[in-house]
Symmetry: C2
Subunit: 212 residues, 2 copies
Amino acid sequence: MEKKYGISQETIKRMIRYLRYLEIQKEKGVKIISSKDVTSFLNVPPAQFRKDLSFFGGFGKRGVGYDVHNLILKIKEILGLNKKNSAVLVGAGRLGSALIKYPGFSDINIDIVAAFENDEKKIGQSLKNVKIYSIDGIKEFTRKSRIRVALLCVPAEAAQAVADILVDAGIKGILNFSPAALILPGDVYVGNVDMASEIGNIIYHMDRKQMQ
Amino acid sequence: MEKKYGISQETIKRMIRYLRYLEIQKEKGVKIISSKDVTSFLNVPPAQFRKDLSFFGGFGKRGVGYDVHNLILKIKEILGLNKKNSAVLVGAGRLGSALIKYPGFSDINIDIVAAFENDEKKIGQSLKNVKIYSIDGIKEFTRKSRIRVALLCVPAEAAQAVADILVDAGIKGILNFSPAALILPGDVYVGNVDMASEIGNIIYHMDRKQMQ
């Protein structure tokens, strides 16, 4: 498969949405799917779906539909999700504990293999078979296990310092759940998830809409 | 306080980040805080922080710093988070169950008061004191309790249909955790959180960066 660059984040995020939808259909026993089926449930314009796939070569036959199994394999290959991606979680607090138990990650082949903490009361315990280690040991662990992805669930004021430790430990991708905006080297990729901000934002705009 | 319109989503999200940071400092007993303290931990340029506050009138004294307690009250008032916002959760599956237990919402005065399901095995049960009701009863519940916010945690293929039910039930703000893009009336405000997409996106871009 030809590797293409310059694909937008929005395209990639839609590809993952297609993938997750297709996997649910596959579990239900669906073998062939039309672009109309995929796009209507995700509310993506059918032309957008075809355009997104075309970036990577396209793999449907007009009028025949897509082989669900093959399309899943292709999208996983494109996204690098055809192999297991091990990840560490840092900060086994309230949110971190919930995320360890969230199976949405394993659905896309992401495996949280260890958690790291600086709270001595938590170190040595386990959350859903994931052991909690001292943050002091993270570099040795990630280097030995060649782990490149981390979920960062520490408070805002610790986030940058812990992210710096992660970078030093060889981490190349960080999913940041703290409200801090991280400043990191150019070869480290960061995504941000801030549920409280999203809902606060909704409430603000909802109130504005009611007033207008 | 003068109400201003046309404030960007990014400004509002930063305001919530300031708020969350300030609340942590308040819990620690901090009374006065400089803009430098706030911005350095959140990695926001100090000028941005002052500009954001100035949209709403500004409330610091140059060289003196901000009164933490007052600044929290002001930001909460601006954001509509000075009053409790009750919310319902729809879809008490794997993610929904984790979110009910996530205290990050109550930190910003959002109170999940009920969960709704179509799975008869779950209806009647409770998750952390939140009772699970049949989705059939949602309109009566939200109308009676005047609830305007919903967390949508159903699978992609059900998301639009359930969102339509929510709109009919008077919901004006939806935080959508499904990968579906919702199509809704103009007076309903939607935010999207898709953790699996975020991490898949990281892995894709991380791999591209390694190859370049």
